[in-house]
Structure formats: C-alpha cells, structure tokens
C-alpha cells in the first residue's frame, strides 16, 4: 500500500488518484471533498471531484439504511419459543 504521506496531492495524476482513492477515503474519515489539501487537485480535475462527491453521497445516504426495513413473520418467534421450550424440557429431564 502506498504511503499517503509521500504523495504530492497537487501533482498526482487521475490514475494515481484512482489508485489511492480507497485509502484516501479511509484516511480522511470519508470526507475528502472538504479536505483543503485536495482543493488544488479538484480544481484541476473536475471529474475526480464529482466522483468523490458522489461516493461521499452514497456513503452518507447508506447510514439511513441502518434503520430496519420490516419485521420477521410471527412464525419466527413461535419457532424460537417452541425450540427453547423443548430445550428447557430436555435440560430438566437431564437433571
């Protein structure tokens, strides 16, 4: 993995940027577009800036998916309760 500290952020090429991007995202805590160290690069490479903003939007919006989508059917708890009952009965017998 490339040492990010050794990268000249103003002079990196698009290909280099693409190569470093997963690591840059991780190192920046997911907020590259607001990082002033990239301001010059993004001024020169508008498509890279657009890519980063899109990926940040996706990562940010993903947090909203943490909220649950729906409930499992009632049968799930019925099965669990039934199995736990059987297990407890079997444990009692062993005692």
């Amino acid at each position: 993995m490339k040492d990010l500290a050794s990268i000249n952020l103003d002079k990196m090429t698009t290909a280099e940027f693409e190569e470093y991007l997963p690591e840059l995202f991780e190192a920046s805590g997911g907020s590259i577009s607001a990082d002033p160290r990239f301001a010059n690069f993004f001024r020169e490479h508008a498509n890279c800036a657009a890519l980063v903003r899109d990926l940040e939007t996706i990562a940010e919006q993903a947090k909203s998916l943490f909220e649950p989508m729906g409930d499992p059917s009632d049968a799930v708890w019925s099965n669990i309760a039934s199995k736990l009952k059987d297990q407890n009965a079997s444990n009692d017998e062993e005692r």
Binding site: A50, T57, L65
Partner: protein, 212 residues
Amino acid sequence: MQTEPNPGLFKRNAPIAGEADAIERAKKGDPDAFARLYALHKRRVYTLCLRMLGNVSEAEDMTQEAFLHLFRKLDSFRGESAFSTWLHRLTVNLVLMHLRKKGLQLVSLEETINPSEEDAPKRDFGSRDTLLSGSVDRVTLERAVAMLPPGYRMVFVLHDVEGFEHNEIATMLECSTGNSKSQLHKARLRLRELLRDPQNLQPENRLMEASR
C-alpha cells in the same frame, strides 16, 4: 456479572432503555426477558439478514438461528461492546457460515467476494454534470444495494450501513483489510453506476442483475 456497555466502544448502536435489565434477567433464564430482547432486536437482526441474503425465507431462518444462538451464548456477553453490536456480529458470523455451507467452502471467501469482470464497476469517472447529491433517497439506494454482487453487497452493508471497521470485516470475512477496503470502494463505484442511470433500477434489470 453486571453488563454495562462501554459508551466509547460503539457509535450508532446506543443502548436501549430496559435492555441491560432484560439481558441480566435473560442470563438467569427468565423467558419473558428473552422475549423482550427478541422484541427489541428482531427488526434489525432480520433486516441485516435480509440485506446479506436478499431472500425473505432465508432471512427469517437465519433470524431464528441468530436468536437461538444468542440464547446459548448470552452468558458470554460481557458488555465490552454494545449489545446490539455483539448481536449483529454474532448474526453476521452465522450468515457467513450459512453461505459457506451453501457452496463457498471450496474456495476462500477472499476469492469468492471478488465478482467477475462483467460485474466489476467500470473505470469511468463520468461527467461532473450528473452529480448524485440530492437525487439518492433511501428507497432508491436500497434497490441499488440489492442489485450489487453478493461480495460487494456484504462489505458495503457491513461497513457503510452497519458501521463495522475494516479490520472487523476482514476478520469476519477471512480476508485482508486491504481487500475489504478495495471491495468497499468497488461496491460504491458500482452503486454510483446503478444510481446514475435510473433505468438500471427497473424491475427487469434488477431480475437480470440478481440472476448473475
């Protein structure tokens, strides 16, 4: 042993009112307390299973397995992380074990989580005129995530949705942290492709993607 979670060790999984008491009582065998834990966590566990498996029936089976497993393992919860984080990790491990049993055991997950070239995101930075900002809502993103190849979807859900760190994901998926980062990046690129063209999210395309 009292199980007070360390608030510094979790982010979005804040403790729920009454949860600590229910955990302690359930550890002592109180069935009502275990039912309470199920009621508190069933939706998130089910949602996690559904996102990872993409199938309601399997997601329900795995939700059942996760809570049965929880019942057996509850004594080992020591409160070193939030209970929900611990439960979700337990669930993820069960789902992964299930997937391996279904056919991933012959090759390492490191290889299998790499989709084919056909599924890989294109190396296209695209135009700056089509920014996603403001156009991605929860429902649209949910649809796009469901269309990701399983390996991409797994890492994206674990990292960006569930909030696991790359080192945790690497341990769970038995891959390197570098691989986890790379898969996440490819997943986001693939999502960008899907989201930039709403046509991609039409039902007929979703079926084609899912069948790959």
